[in-house]
Amino acid sequence: MVISFEEVSYRYRDRGMSPVLGLDGLNLELEEGRMIAVLGAPGSGKSTLLQHMNGLIRADDGLIRILDFRLASGDGKKIPAGLRQRVGLVFQNPEQQLFEETVEKDLLFGPLNFGRSPAEAAEAVRRAASFVGLDEELLGQSPFKLSSGQMRKAAVAAVLAADPDILALDEPTASLDPASREDLMQRLHGLTRMQGKTVLVVTHRLEEIVAFADEFVVIKDGKVLFQGTAGELVHRQEVLEQGGLMAPSSVRMAGMLAAQLGLEPAEMLPDAAALAEWYAELLGS
């Protein structure tokens, strides 16, 4: 069990006078090496959840155990050494944070902060850049000269360069075109299979992650509404509705076809290929 939240609560206190609930007695346990989708409507607490994981936010109540760190509510502001290197957090629109003169310098920022030698850091940067599919020749350019897709890759590489054990991304595919979205999801999935990292992706688009994630967590009003596999989630209409989610199009299409034909689809059909297979089978029989 690599991440554990026990009765974690948090209230935002800087909105005028009345506090806004962020997390409400949230309980969650996640295993290592998996790709986990964190879904929910805006304001449900997904981003708040992520920020608790690397100590940006300290919970008001409850206990968080992450890797071998222990974050309790009363512990004060000090974050344990090494937490931020081992739990990498990529914010929404991360390209807005690029600030150095060259892409390479920006990517080096993380590993150097965490104490890597310049040589180690440079090597880590090269590896991270190639992993996200960022051309090496772009490393020497100013980040502002990159296309938006390239900037996004650079920003993700910037966090990967520190070689975290857990990588949490907040809406990493926002404003990307469909091809880039799928490409990014594939690479993130690769991180779990090829490098054994644990990857959490916060998104409200179930469609793009349904084929990649091992586990799905739906958050609503600061609590976990659902935790399970894609197969379990996709047929739970109430969960989808309450979480403000839409079933993947293949599932909806299968549902409509089945209703027309008077049948039930056998199992969850995550993508067009599975749907075509099922339909072909149907026609064959």
């Binding site: 206190r13 800087d14 005028g16 006078m17 009345s18 920020q51 690397n54 940006l56 931020r84 290197q85 990498g88 957090l89 914010f91 991360p94 807005q96 944070q97 690029l98 600030f99 150095e100 920022f109 993380g110 902060n113 965490f114 502002f144 910037a158 966090v159 520190a162």
Partner: protein, 263 residues
């Protein structure tokens, strides 16, 4: 970070002061300023303090928020106090410790000067806590309209003020998000020397500035696309109606002026 800057923030509420015409509240400020400048001794300060406390009470916002509004300027207040204590003579000698001589006169001047600043901040807080920023700007614009006769571009100024007030929280949030992102990458300012700290803070906030400029251009385009032209006649969504309560409010501020002048 955001929690600390409390002075400019609007606090939701439905008190009598919240419902006043923003022009009345804006007009009360210069009157209070006059009172603050006229104040010249412990009695005057006390009277003004009492008046301010009563006004604060009617806003139905807890006192502690007003105290917190002064926090960023606490250093300045203390500086003023200490400055007068150390360098002003007059009145009986209170303390004599080596090179330091503290006089009653100096102490009084220090307390009065620091109180002036504190009172001013608290009334500014009353204004900003109870009035939405856009209404403040609009109220100010209405009051300044006569100045267009002498060539002051009040339209432009009010627009600038309104937009700035509207975007301060947004840009602040963006800066905060940026800061969190950099902290997540291991930014640790505590271990760095001062000059590097400054350089790093500036470099990290470059994206906020470019973002702000991008926003400004986008906003201008969006306003123009919807037919906005600077200086052209336009109707208002929220028209201000001056009521008796507003006259009462402004008139009430003659009290501190009188008190300050007499005490």
């Amino acid at each position: 970070m955001k929690r600390k800057i409390i002075l400019g923030r609007y606090m939701e509420g439905d008190s009598w002061v919240h419902r006043l015409d923003p022009r009345a509240k804006t007009a009360a400020m210069p009157l209070f300023m006059v009172a603050v400048f006229l104040v010249d001794g412990y009695m005057g300060v006390l009277a003004l303090l009492l008046f301010t406390a009563v006004v604060i009470r009617t806003t139905r916002i807890p006192y502690r928020y007003y105290i917190r509004a002064m926090k960023p300027l606490l250093f300045l207040l203390l500086f003023i106090l200490v400055f007068h204590i150390l360098y002003d003579a007059g009145g009986g000698k209170l303390l004599d410790v080596g090179a330091f001589k503290v006089y009653a006169g100096g102490l009084e001047k220090g307390i009065v000067s620091a109180s002036r600043m504190g009172l001013f901040i608290m009334l500014a807080a009353v204004l900003t806590f109870t009035t939405q920023p856009e209404q403040l700007a609009q109220g100010l614009g209405s009051l300044l309209r006569p100045l267009t006769c002498i060539g002051v571009p009040t339209d432009r100024l009010v627009l600038m003020l309104g937009i700035a007030l509207r975007f301060i929280p947004t840009i602040f949030e963006e800066a905060e998000r940026l800061w969190k992102a950099q902290q997540s990458r291991g930014l640790d300012l505590s271990s760095r020397p001062l000059r590097e700290k400054a350089r790093l803070i500036i470099a990290l906030l470059v994206p906020v500035t470019t973002g702000a400029f991008r926003r400004a251009i986008g906003l201008a385009d969006s306003m123009e696309a919807r037919g906005y032209r600077l200086g052209a006649r336009r109707s208002r969504f929220r028209a201000f109606v001056w009521k008796r309560a507003d006259t009462l409010f402004v008139a009430a501020f003659l009290l501190p002026v009188a008190a300050a002048a007499l005490l």
